[in-house]
């Protein structure tokens, strides 16, 4: 679904990503982990088209989209959430999702039904009429997920969706992501909750200082000494995070 080929991004003299390549396939959750500042969000920005790479290409469903803008990519089935929240703060929770639903050509009551359904699915129907700006961070992250789902994506990029959630909410979101993948969605997940990453992802990529230092199945990643040292020696499976 998504193929990133040898992408390099530079800010002035600093190279934020160096020759990064990865594949995200439908029906699976793919993990992208790494310490803070490793370049995970920059890679998301490159994939969504908010950041131009100096080298490399981005393929979406077999099509080279490197030269295309974020809007075209979104219309090709790319949805995302943001690490630093980007909810439409002055709209209600329901209206946030409506903006996404209406953009797919569904209007009126059908759109409201769909939006309410999505809120229910991510578990935040009880705050449907709250202004999004006043939502707690965890709920706002779920709102971003519902809004992204509203555009009927084929590929979903999630930037730390579990941060700010309590354990019950986390477990529920984990189940939901598995359901979405089972429905055929391709998911790329950036997350610091290692336990969750190990549980959900079939393939994991590890970024450190802008370079991929490892990729593979969760067990391989856990055992990888480079990954251990990138995480300051912390045993990966304990969920210590970065």
């Amino acid at each position: 679904m998504l193929r990133v080929e040898e992408v390099t991004v530079a800010f002035g003299g600093v190279r934020a990503l160096v020759d990064v390549s990865l594949d995200v396939v439908p029906g699976q959750i793919t993990g992208l982990i790494g310490p803070n500042g490793a370049g995970k969000t920059t890679l998301f920005n490159v994939v969504t088209g908010l950041q131009k790479p100096v080298r490399g290409r981005v393929m979406l469903g077999g099509v080279d989209v490197t030269g295309k803008g974020p809007k075209d990519r979104a219309r090709m089935g790319l949805g995302r959430t943001f690490q630093r929240l980007e909810v439409f703060g002055s709209l209600t929770t329901l209206d946030n999702v409506l903006v996404g639903v209406e953009n797919t050509g569904v209007h009126g009551q059908a759109a409201r039904r769909a939006a309410a359904g999505l809120l229910d699915r991510v578990g935040i129907a009880h705050v449907a009429d709250r202004q999004a700006d006043v939502l707690p961070t965890g709920l706002a992250r779920l709102l971003e997920l519902a809004r992204a789902l509203a555009c009927q994506p084929k590929l979903l990029l999630l930037d730390e969706p579990f941060s700010g959630l309590d354990s019950a909410e986390s477990a529920r979101l984990g189940d939901l992501l598995e359901e979405l993948a089972a429905d055929g969605l391709a998911v790329l997940l950036v997350e610091h909750d290692m336990e969750m990453v190990m549980r959900l992802c079939r393939t994991i990529y590890v970024l450190s200082f802008g370079s991929l230092i490892a990729s593979g199945m969760p067990d391989e990643i856990k055992a990888n000494p480079d990954v251990q040292s990138a995480y300051l020696g912390a045993p990966v499976a304990t969920g210590a995070g970065a």
Partner: protein, 645 residues
């Protein structure tokens, strides 16, 4: 050839270097504080008037007065403003930052007018050339000492700034602060101290520019303020960061201006055109140079005003029209005129609710659209006020609005605000103050419209008609807020990045909101003309567009009721002037001060945490009602068909 050389010399030494000083001041302020200081022109003007006071009233020697004005007075203003106003804006959204420095601009102009010896039109203000305009021949080219001083000041300032930023510890720390404020703070740098230094330096340069240019032009408060505004284009060439490119931009602008003065024919139309060149240069630079990429937004959390339902807005509207009908019976003379003008301005201000309040696009030219509306009403509506005139007012303003929107499609935030300001100033110079459009007497008769058999020319009937139009427009705007269009506008306002990643067509939304809002302002302009029965260039000055924006922000730019109050307040300003002769321009002072205060409450007086809103909040969420309102019979199934695989 001789003419070419002398125009080149004037382009560089009279204009270019002054623009360079002013533009470098803008860049220094922006790079150190992250805030574009719209008020820099006003501060420069303050410096020039202070210099005038010292030399002409107190008879200080020129050099001493120059040093005191440029190195003490102006930097002190900058440092104090940074301390008192700007520092509180560190975490504010872009709109608050724009509004506050625009408020400082209005405040500066009003403040200068309020000082008796500065604002008195009876007092002649002249700053003579240094060395009484004596000339010296340099390589066969005649230069005045004044020009030599200008070039010397510009080159010296540029050199010192470059040394400061590259060689000194403070300069390097300042650049680090600009690159990453938080990171620099971790290394022990104090961002606020450098911002204060930047503001002091920026104001110092602005005052130097104003003092040096003052002898070349008729010295008046607005004119001197515009010197720095003219230099915006040069600062844009440097993209508000690069001092060398800014200097180059200033020289190019100076040369363009000088050649145009020398080579273009001298007719009235052409001389108006020459005055517009700095603004055209600014627009062109912003259109040609690459724009910064979409950045993730940093919006402050604010309580949005409650969404008003259709029945509520209809009832409130009916009550308003009824009230106006009753009140109109009791009004006479001037008071009736104020009320009529207030309602018309209220309609113009409603255009800001849609564009800036909902859409987040800051426009500084809404009165220019209103002026176009009044013009169309006058020319097409004829002496009997045909309905065609009203349609022409809406159409002309809407069409020009769409044209202005074209650059807006590329520009965001500050750049958009600058583009609309450039348009407003260009309209002032080229259109409103042009005998070709406004006649030799500089005013146009505007008839009140006739709707079929209904004659609205009577004062009280016209007032009720205005209230009805206000209500119709307000109800439509509130309906738009509840619609898909309104949701998109607010989404665009809150997070353009998220809109992009949702695939929302922002171009169409922006074009639509610009056109609609200009059309509303045009309609308001037709009413404004009708209210006064004649309009002149002074009615639509760019500075009043700024005042309207500030009033809208103060009352709550997302509230329609606030626009009515804003319009009335605007119309009552002559009454205030009449009864409060000292200080002069008390209205500008009041509006400016109130708008500076707005940084604490970005939703305005009626927009945010009103008592009613807080009471509603305490009642807690009303989710069951909302979901019930969607469709009680439909299964709420999150799976739907959304995940297509």
């Amino acid at each position: 050839m001789n003419q070419f050389i002398s125009l080149t010399v004037a382009g560089i030494a009279t204009w270019g270097c002054v623009y360079a000083l002013a533009a470098m001041g803008l860049v220094v302020t922006y790079t150190t504080s992250g805030i574009f200081n719209f008020a820099q022109g006003a501060i420069g003007m303050f410096g020039a008037y202070f210099y005038w006071e010292l030399t002409q009233v107190w008879h200080w020697p020129g050099l001493v007065a120059l040093l005191v004005s440029v190195l003490l007075f102006a930097p002190l203003i900058g440092a104090v403003l940074e301390l008192v106003v700007v520092r509180r804006l560190e975490n504010a959204g872009l709109e608050a930052k724009l509004t506050v420095t625009i408020a400082l601009l209005v405040l500066g102009i009003a403040g200068a007018n309020a000082i008796p010896s500065w604002g008195d039109p009876q007092v002649t203000h002249i700053i003579p050339n240094f060395f009484n305009g004596k000339q010296v021949s340099v390589g066969g080219v005649n230069l005045t000492y004044q020009q030599l001083i200008v070039v010397g000041a510009a080159v010296l300032s540029a050199g010192l700034l470059r040394l400061f930023f590259i060689r000194t510890r403070a300069g390097i720390a300042t650049r680090a602060v600009v690159d990453d404020r938080d990171l620099a703070a971790l290394t022990g740098a104090t961002p606020t101290r450098y911002a204060q230094l930047g503001w002091a330096m920026g104001c110092s340069l602005a005052s130097l520019a104003a003092i040096l240019i003052a002898p070349q032009q008729y010295m008046d408060i607005t004119g001197l303020t515009l010197i720095v505004v003219s230099a915006y284009g040069a600062a844009m060439v440097g993209r508000l960061r690069s001092l060398p490119l800014t200097f180059l931009g200033a020289i190019i602008l100076g040369l363009l201006y000088s050649y145009a003065l020398g080579y273009l024919p001298s007719g009235d139309g052409w001389s108006k055109f020459v005055q517009v060149i700095p603004m055209l240069f600014l627009l062109l630079v912003m259109l040609v140079l690459p724009q910064p990429r979409a950045t993730l937004t940093r919006r402050i959390r604010a309580r949005a005003p409650r969404v008003v339902s259709l029945p509520e807005s209809l009832i409130a509207g009916a009550v308003l029209v009824g009230l106006v009908a009753v009140v109109a019976q009791g009004l006479h003379g001037d008071n009736l005129g104020y009320a009529q003008k207030g309602l018309a301005v209220g309609v113009v201000m409603l255009s800001l609710v849609l564009l800036t309040g909902y859409g987040g696009q800051v426009s500084l030219c809404q009165l220019s659209f209103a002026g176009l509306g009044a013009y169309a009403m006058s020319k097409v509506g004829g002496s009997h006020g045909s309905l065609l005139g009203v349609l022409a007012a809406i159409g002309l303003a809407g069409a020009v609005g769409a044209l202005v929107a074209l650059p807006a499609l590329r520009l965001r935030g500050l750049y958009l605000a600058l583009a609309t300001l450039a348009f407003a100033i260009a309209m002032d110079n080229y259109f409103f103050n042009n005998v070709r459009f406004f006649g030799v007497a500089s005013n146009l008769y505007v008839a009140r419209p006739k709707l079929g058999g209904l004659d609205l020319s009577g004062d009280r009937v016209f007032m009720v008609a205005e209230a009805t139009v206000f209500v119709l427009v307000a109800v439509s705007i509130l309906a738009a807020r509840r619609s898909r269009f309104g949701r998109r506008l607010l989404a665009l306002h809150d997070s353009p990045s998220a809109c992009l990643t949702l695939g929302v067509d922002m171009t169409r939304t922006k074009l639509a909101v610009f056109t609609t809002s200009a059309a509303i302002a045009g309609l308001g302009g037709a009413l404004y003309g009708g209210a006064q029965t004649q309009v002149g260039p002074n009615d639509f000055q760019f500075i009043f567009s700024l005042t309207l924006l500030l009033l809208a922000v103060v009352w709550g730019i997302r509230t329609t009721g606030g626009m009515l109050l804003g319009g009335v307040a605007y119309a009552l300003s002559p009454l205030l002037q009449k009864h409060l002769t000292t200080p002069r321009e008390a209205f500008g002072l009041l509006v400016g001060l109130a708008a500076v205060g707005v940084s604490q409450n970005p939703e305005g007086t009626f927009g945010g945490n009103t008592p009613l809103q807080m009471w509603r909040d305490r009642r807690g969420p009303r989710t069951p009602e909302v979901l019930a309102g969607i469709d009680a019979g439909a299964p709420v199934d999150g799976r739907l068909t959304h995940v297509a695989g």
